[in-house]
């Protein structure tokens, strides 16, 4: 029973020992077993089952997520969602409990009640579920409760990213409900097919994810349940094309619209873009979305689910992460770095950055099983350090930054969550310790392979924070963030220049000044982003890649320049001669060389 003690220990970490332990006991009664196995053990070849139960609303098992969340709402947040996953065998179970925003006293009662319900349901509930549950034994029940008491919140220990994230992004529940409602079409349009609604049709960037069987998993705009037919059509087209010897559907084009497909069995990802981007660029975005889903589930788990249950509704596994994915998709539009495969780095005075680098590296020394540590702020990288021989891919950093920045719950207390970094290892979870320094926008992240490292990392973090404070580094960073971190193009003193994006290829980092005249308003920003996407497309066409491109119109001169060590995309004044443009770019490059150590964190920090 040392395992139970282990879990109880973890639960105490989250300051909810009493309540959670009761729930654990309850689940324990349901089916006793070992709890040392991680909930989503990737080496396990068993199945995953998800059951969603609306407490007191027997019909909600079959109900859609939308109505489920409404149910949640109506029952004042006291509804419990129970996730059962990873059937191993009768003897082996992992039970993770999480309680939040429910009056502490009620929590235990709820736990027991819910577990009973799950149990009952498993014997004779809805057809689909009962089928699953009678043939399989539930070995892992992840109980998630929405609890009204904000104070009960704390760093939580759960074994599935999504189950944790659910609470992070969606608080408070009533707000989310309102948002969902407002984003939904008017009631009289409820009956209409989405494709009949112009606002929906005209979205600049649509994104759909569905399973091989055509079940919707995610959509950026609209309610998945109303897109079942459309997803079915897409799936049909995909499979008809796939019928003939290894043929795969890639893209469709009409004037002004490109639809790209990415088939990553068991999922199909589709984007519909009116952004003028090429199929090749759109596929980059789809890969980010796929990576995000992997970051929640891990690749083996994803495929295992669908091997076992081809008709599985994956939304249940991802529930709670929709907002994060929404934010990621919106971020595609805002940040050119996704196409460049580079991370945005926060400009800091070189001595300050060095000092932070060494503090961070020092805090990581001699912590076994720690792989990476990062300091980020405002979606930008401040410092990163890594265990020897391991590298952190820019795409993984993006996924991580998006997750940390989107989930508000991290901002109030330290957190410990499992996350899979697909480029690092799509097969398993790392564990992320997330802590905002002194409730400032500066956030420290440790990534470790050992799920039991929470205490030692919390200790390291405390040391790091106190050193940051005592050395005055934190204040300096905050000061820099309000001044030098956001520089203007005027600071380069290249008068012909309006805006630019520079990527240091070796570090996979990019920098750009704040957007100024004449692109300050939203329309202007869109135009500017369009320029960069166009230049990127021209510079990265595999067979006819341009090394230099200069586009002159009445309104601006665009310049793209790719070499082995850097990529430069610039917008200049339209009236200058080519000779002036060349001189301006040379001047900018000199400035860049001079400021390099301020703009990027070039030297790779390593600990052992």
């Amino acid at each position: 029973m040392s395992d139970i003690e282990h879990v109880e220990g973890r639960v105490r970490e989250i300051h909810l020992a009493a309540e959670s332990a009761t729930i654990l006991d309850a689940v324990e009664n349901l089916s006793p077993g070992s709890i040392s196995e991680p909930c989503f053990d990737v080496t396990d070849s068993s199945n995953d089952v998800v059951v969603v139960v609306g407490g007191g609303f027997p019909g909600s098992t079959e109900s859609s997520r939308g109505s489920f969340s409404r149910t949640l709402h109506h029952s004042s947040g006291s509804i419990t969602q129970i996730r059962a996953a990873n059937v191993v065998d009768v003897d082996q179970q992992t039970v993770i409990a999480r309680t939040e925003r429910v009056p502490a006293k009620e929590a235990s009662d709820y736990g027991e009640e819910m577990v009973r319900k799950v149990h009952m349901r498993s014997r004779g509930g809805s057809m689909e579920k009962s089928e699953i549950l009678t043939t399989e034994t539930v070995s892992c029940v992840d109980v998630e409760e929405d609890i009204a008491d904000e104070n009960a919140e704390g760093p939580l220990h759960v074994e599935c990213t999504s189950s944790y994230l659910q609470e992070g992004v969606t608080q408070p529940h009533s707000d989310q409900q309102d948002e969902v409602d407002s984003s939904k079409p008017l009631p009289d349009q409820e009956e209409l097919d989405y494709t009949q609604i112009p606002e929906w049709r005209n979205q600049r960037r649509q994104l759909f994810v569905f399973s091989n069987s055509g079940k919707p998993v995610y959509t950026r705009h609209g309610d998945e349940d109303r897109l079942v037919t459309l997803c079915g059509v897409m799936q049909a087209i995909v499979s008809v094309v796939n019928d003939t010897n290894d043929n795969q559907l890639w893209s469709m084009r009409a004037i002004g619209t490109t639809i790209s497909f990415l088939i990553r069995t068991p999922l199909v990802l589709v984007t519909v873009a009116k952004t003028g981007e090429s199929d090749r660029q759109l596929v980059l975005y789809l890969n980010y979305v796929y990576d995000f889903i992997i970051s929640v589930l891990t690749a083996p788990q994803l495929s295992r689910i669908f091997i076992r249950y081809p008709n599985f509704d994956l939304r249940r596994m991802l529930s709670g992460t929709e907002k994060i994915l929404d934010r990621l998709v919106d971020w595609f539009d805002e940040d050119f770095g996704f196409l460049l495969g580079a991370v945005r780095c926060m400009p800091l005075p070189p001595p300050l950055r060095e000092s932070i680098n060494s503090l961070l590296t020092h805090s990581c020394q001699k912590t076994p099983n720690l792989v990476f540590a990062l300091v980020i702020a405002k979606r930008q990288l401040i410092s990163v350090t890594r265990l020897k021989k391991y590298i952190l891919h820019p795409s993984d950093i993006r996924i991580l930054i998006n997750l940390v920045d989107t989930s508000d719950s991290f901002k109030t207390a330290e957190a410990w969550i499992p996350i899979c970094l697909p480029k690092f290892d799509a097969g398993g979870f790392l564990h992320a310790y997330i802590h905002y320094l002194r409730e400032s926008p500066v956030c420290l992240i440790y990534l470790a392979v050992d799920p039991s490292l929470f205490h030692s990392l919390a200790q390291s973090s405390a040391n790091f924070v106190s050193k940051m404070e005592s050395s005055g580094n934190l204040d300096s960073v905050l000061a820099a963030m309000s001044s030098t971190a956001f520089y203007t193009v005027q600071q380069t003193s290249v008068v012909e220049l309006r805006h630019f994006v520079y990527k240091a290829s070796s570090a996979a980092q990019l920098t750009s000044p704040v957007i100024g005249h004449p692109y300050v308003d939203e329309e202007g920003r869109q135009i500017l982003r369009g320029f960069y996407r166009y230049l990127h497309r021209k510079m990265h066409c595999p067979t006819r890649a341009a090394k230099i491109i200069v586009v002159t119109s009445n309104t601006e001169m665009l310049l793209g320049w790719v070499s082995g060590t850097f990529e430069l995309y610039a917008v200049l004044e339209p009236s200058i001669t080519k000779h002036q443009a060349v001189l301006a770019i040379e001047k900018l490059m000199r400035w860049m060389k001079k400021e390099e150590s301020q703009l990027f964190t070039i030297n790779s920090q390593v600990f052992s």
Partner: protein, 470 residues
């Protein structure tokens, strides 16, 4: 599906054999179908008007067409325009809906193993569009209104495209097709007047002649039909009729034709005329051409007569109502008697003008700069990218096609310099319906030097319009 009524879709797809090379693609299939027919299960084959290769299993045909229908319908969920193409790892299908009132043409495509942009749908689109335009001018627009019974339409499609697909180089695509325009023969005033004189006297002597088009080899000497239609017609004559002509010419020389024709100094031929001009009994089956009426926008049918002599092709569009007599051999004899000497009279002048333009004095002859100039207002082109001896590298031409797409669709009044492979620079600019695309292959050229080369080109080649380009 009622929305699809009276629309016909054409689709083609390409297999390719060598990685990413346009020239090595082959046509996988080509089809014409109508979604409004064969709605009931088991009757789907009624949708199919044409399917190449004809040996394809009907079930496969139905499946291909079903996919095309699904894709175009799906695209309509997001787009107000029709799906132009869809790409898979092995094939590119291009498709186009042809409305009864007509506008667009059909499209073709290619494919590639790696997911990259060697694929230039535009090249294939323009080729399939060309195919449909030619079909339209010779057979009238595809429309179920015109053909309540689909059988004759199917036969027309079969016979036209069987011939077309055989003769047109689908497997050997010419990237330059994207820069399609008429080549006008440069003429001095005297020659131009004598050409005009011939054309005018034809319409005076043969009242039923409504329009005419005259070519010297592949270059336009005279035209009074709509320019895009002239382009299709000129393409038809040079690419489809001339090869036949060559054969006939050779035969004529070796056969026992009446000696007086040689004595008269001309060797005229009608393409769709009587087999033997001397046989008064022969009734000539009519050949038609369909030209768009500028006022109503509808296609109007004309009798088509194409006469060729001494490298000159005279294409006459006869008013159908008043051309009943044109079915007789006598009519052709008269026409021949008139056109023969008239054409023979201007032929030497045209030959001289034709050879003059290949004289270095007339043409910008820098080995480092090659260009194509397009004037959309008269659909004319002038180019040095490809001549009989030498063609600019295919990869550079593809890059030019990309630039053309950029300056035509993406930006207005824009100039693009691009440094591409082998340190060559390519240039594109479009301004007031005029566009210039160039390849500068000078060694170690930088941006400033390239700009200078283009400036030199413009001042030498287009002195009068210099301001418009730089």
């Amino acid at each position: 599906m009622s929305a699809n009524k009276d629309k016909l879709a054409t689709a083609g797809s390409h297999h390719h054999t060598h990685n990413g090379r346009l020239v090595d693609l082959e046509l996988a299939s080509f089809c014409v179908f109508n979604s409004s027919l064969g709605q009931r299960e088991g009757e789907e084959h009624q949708k199919i008007f044409l399917f190449f290769p004809v040996t394809t299993d009907v079930d496969v045909q139905i499946r291909v067409i079903g996919l095309l229908e699904a894709v175009s319908k799906f695209m309509r969920s997001f787009s107000d325009t029709d799906c132009r193409s869809f790409l898979t790892s092995q094939q590119l299908h291009t498709l186009n809906l042809v409305h009864p009132s007509d506008t667009a043409g059909p499209r073709v495509g290619e494919n590639d193993r790696t997911r990259n942009e060697t694929i230039q749908e535009e090249v294939y689109c323009s080729i399939l569009e060309k195919a449909y335009k030619m079909f339209k001018i010779l057979n009238g627009p595809l429309s179920l209104v015109e053909y309540p019974d689909t059988k004759p339409l199917k036969q027309k499609l079969q016979s036209f495209f069987a011939d077309y697909l055989q003769k047109s180089p689908f497997g050997k695509l010419d990237v330059l097709q994207c820069f399609d325009a008429l080549s006008w023969l440069p003429m001095n005033r005297k020659v131009f007047l004598s050409v005009q004189n011939v054309v005018n006297s034809i319409s005076v002597n043969f009242r039923e002649v409504r329009y005419s088009l005259m070519l010297y080899w592949d270059q336009v000497v005279w035209n009074d039909i709509d320019l895009p239609e002239a382009l299709s017609m000129a393409h038809y004559i040079t690419k489809f009729l001339y090869p036949d002509l060559m054969e006939k010419d050779i035969q004529a020389i070796h056969s026992s034709l009446p000696a007086q024709q040689f004595a008269q100094g001309h060797l005229g031929r009608f393409f769709f005329g009587p087999k033997n001009l001397q046989d008064s009994e022969e009734v000539v089956p009519p050949t038609f051409a369909y030209l768009t009426d500028p006022e109503s926008g509808l296609a109007v049918r004309y009798r088509l007569v194409v006469y060729s002599a001494a490298s000159i092709a005279v294409c006459l569009f006869l008013d159908e109502a008043s051309s009943a007599a044109s079915e007789s051999t006598k009519y052709y004899r008269n026409l021949d008697a008139y056109l023969g000497p008239a054409v023979a009279a201007i032929a030497p002048d045209l030959a001289e003008q034709y050879s003059k333009q290949h004289n270095p004095q007339w043409s910008y002859d820098s080995p480092n700069v090659r260009y194509i100039f397009l004037n959309e207002s008269n659909l004319s082109k002038k180019q040095t990218l490809a001549d009989r001896n030498q063609t600019v590298q295919v990869e550079l031409l593809k890059a030019l096609v990309d630039i053309k797409e950029d300056v035509t669709n993406r930006f207005d009044d824009t100039e693009i310099y691009e440094k591409v492979l082998h340190d060559c620079w390519i240039y594109g600019k479009r301004n007031f319906q005029h566009s210039l695309f160039a390849v500068v292959t000078q060694r170690n050229a930088d941006l400033v030097l390239t700009e200078e080369e283009i400036r030199k080109l413009c001042s030498k080649e287009f002195p009068s319009s210099n301001d418009a380009y730089l």
